[in-house]
Symmetry: C2
Subunit: 223 residues, 2 copies
């Protein structure tokens, strides 16, 4: 049997910056980023709004901290499995984490500076690639390429207007019916690919990731 109230709240020992950020992430996950107001956040933490300002400068600092907290959840690359496997695992972890906090990528353009979790992650990734035989330039190329792909893929995934295979099916159906004349290629793709029972958007993720990792491997092997 647990103690008193909801987890991670422990209502009345003094607030900390970390507790504020933790509450903000939980609130955004549960009720959407638009419900993340300083006033709602204070209520969840069982304080009055002004109490928050003792621990963070303003709402922007909360948003910055939330993004960094999310990046801190992503697994660091495993140094013992070779760069390619390590990058594949890390990319999968990043996707999982970013889908769990679907508001995070939309906050990136509001972020003023990368946080320490973000920098630590980047440092570990670069180290893993250098260990794997990448030159410093190639490691720079690789990080930018892999991360762009992962972020962009998840951005498409969270902005898709459906969350389940059934909804995907219905949406594709609607495209075929509504817009088959105006957008024939799109309709063909919906009918002959997306609507097939074996279609799974997640498989697209691995297709692109493998193409990228194979391409990098060839370039590294070629020197």
């Amino acid at each position: 049997m647990a103690t008193t109230s909801k987890p991670a709240q422990r209502p009345r020992d003094p607030l900390t910056r970390d507790r504020v950020l933790e509450g903000a992430v939980a609130l955004a996950d549960e009720r959407g980023i638009s419900a993340l107001t300083m006033r709602n956040l204070a209520e969840v933490l069982d304080r009055k709004p002004m109490a928050l300002y003792h621990h963070v400068a303003n709402k922007d600092e909360v948003l910055d901290g939330m993004v960094d907290a999310v990046f801190g959840e992503i697994d660091l690359p495993d140094d013992s499995v070779g760069w390619k496997t390590a990058m594949r695992q890390r990319a999968g972890s990043a996707r999982t984490v970013l889908l769990r906090h679907p508001w995070a990528l939309g906050l990136m353009d509001a972020r003023t500076a990368p946080g320490v979790a973000t920098l630590r992650h980047l440092d570990a990734v670069i180290g893993c690639l250098l260990d794997g035989g990448f030159s410093i330039e190639m490691a720079g190329h690789a990080v930018s390429l892999i991360d762009a792909y992962v972020y962009g893929f998840v951005l498409q995934e969270v902005s898709l207007p459906f969350d389940t295979p059934e909804e995907t099916h219905d949406a594709a159906d609607a495209v075929v019916e509504q817009a088959g004349d105006e957008f024939p290629h799109l309709a063909a793709m919906a009918a002959r690919y997306v609507l097939q029972p074996e279609y799974n958007f997640e498989d697209e993720f691995h297709f692109g990731l493998d193409l990228i990792l194979d391409g990098l491997e060839q370039m590294v092997a070629a020197g």
Copy 2:
């Protein structure tokens, strides 16, 4: 000599949905997405706030429309140059447009459904790839991969805390000084790569794009 006032405003003929969206894009470009309020937008359009609701249902519809308007600015693929060149040009156009409206990608996760400009663009891209010999499955893979890369790259680009090469240099300098001990690989990359005079973040874009297009070309050639 122009007529009376600022362009695209023409203060007093009746508002239209398109004029509302045009004003919203201009306002977000000039003063940032946080300045985009229904009240500010009404002022720019020389109306009272409530006038907007005669042309759009609510603010969410404005945001959806803005994203679709931005997608409408991206060049459609050129059917006469081969799929690879067409995709390279289109990706470059998308990057340019998305950098011109840096708030657009951050709005994607709030979007409820793709608009017609987005669908038209996607349709043209699929058509271009099918013409180039892609199967419907390969075209699906290719669209998802290329678009993920372009969006993700630009997302990194707009969230970088600097806008000019000079600022990049200063920021990299700061990383080396502040965090050289804690993040040695990052510091090495900053010192030995990013801080070199010939470094240019834009070149990273072409590196990754070419790797992706070459990989796709090999797969298509192999059947």
